[in-house]
Amino acid sequence: GESVGLHLPTLSVQEGDNSIINCAYSNSASDYFIWYKQESGKGPQFIIDIRSNMDKRQGQRVTVLLNKTVKHLSLQIAATQPGDSAVYFCADSYNFNKFYFGSGTKLNVKP
């Protein structure tokens, strides 16, 4: 049968600029969230996580913001580099039971 692939939304940024990638989740009971980076031909790579009792968490060059009111998650990447080019996914979980993934965003960093 024919397989139809969806086109991921793409965010194009200039090297050195900051990137903001957004994600919406549907389960209001979700209490744990993870951002992943997936490069071509590889499995998703853990970037940063946040629990629902927080609204912001910072890592190395990355910040995750959580807005539980509107069920929205964002990933901010500071000083974006060509090596950041990849597809980014958010995932949410309730009580660390199962993880469901968002649709993904392709980040394209222009040198």
């Binding site: 049968g1 991921l8 993870i34 499995g43 998703p44 790579q45 995932a91 469901y100 993934f101």
Partner: protein, 114 residues
């Protein structure tokens, strides 16, 4: 983080055959999951692999098509049965509870069905 080994990394199979994918972790883990990622799409949870009992399947996935084993806390297999071209996807093993309940992924199995 745990080291996750998934085999095979890729395979090309004929319609109607079955393929078993293995996932081996270098430490005992609480949770093991199997995901499917169709071309250009996000990850879809197939099932939770439960140690010593039947897997818990998500809506749209059934045991007859995707039998799963988990004999211990470090190993699981996913079989894709009676394959058709629509099964062409990347299949990913993931583990959690190591040690602080993060979820990590293997490198995946690229399956092409002719």
């Amino acid at each position: 983080s745990a080291v996750i080994s998934q085999k095979p990394s890729r395979d090309i199979c004929q319609r109607g055959t079955s393929l078993t994918i293995q996932c081996q972790v270098d430490s005992q883990v609480t949770m093991m999951f199997w995901y499917r990622q169709q071309p250009g799409q996000s990850l879809t949870l197939i099932a939770t692999a439960n140690q010593g009992s039947e897997a818990t399947y998500e809506s749209g996935f059934v045991i007859d098509k995707f039998p799963i084993s988990r004999p211990n806390l470090t190993f699981s297999t996913l079989t894709v049965s009676n394959m058709s071209p629509e099964d062409s996807s990347i299949y990913l093993c993931s583990v959690g509870g190591v040690p602080d309940e993060k979820l990590f992924f293997g490198s995946g199995t690229q399956l092409s069905v002719l």
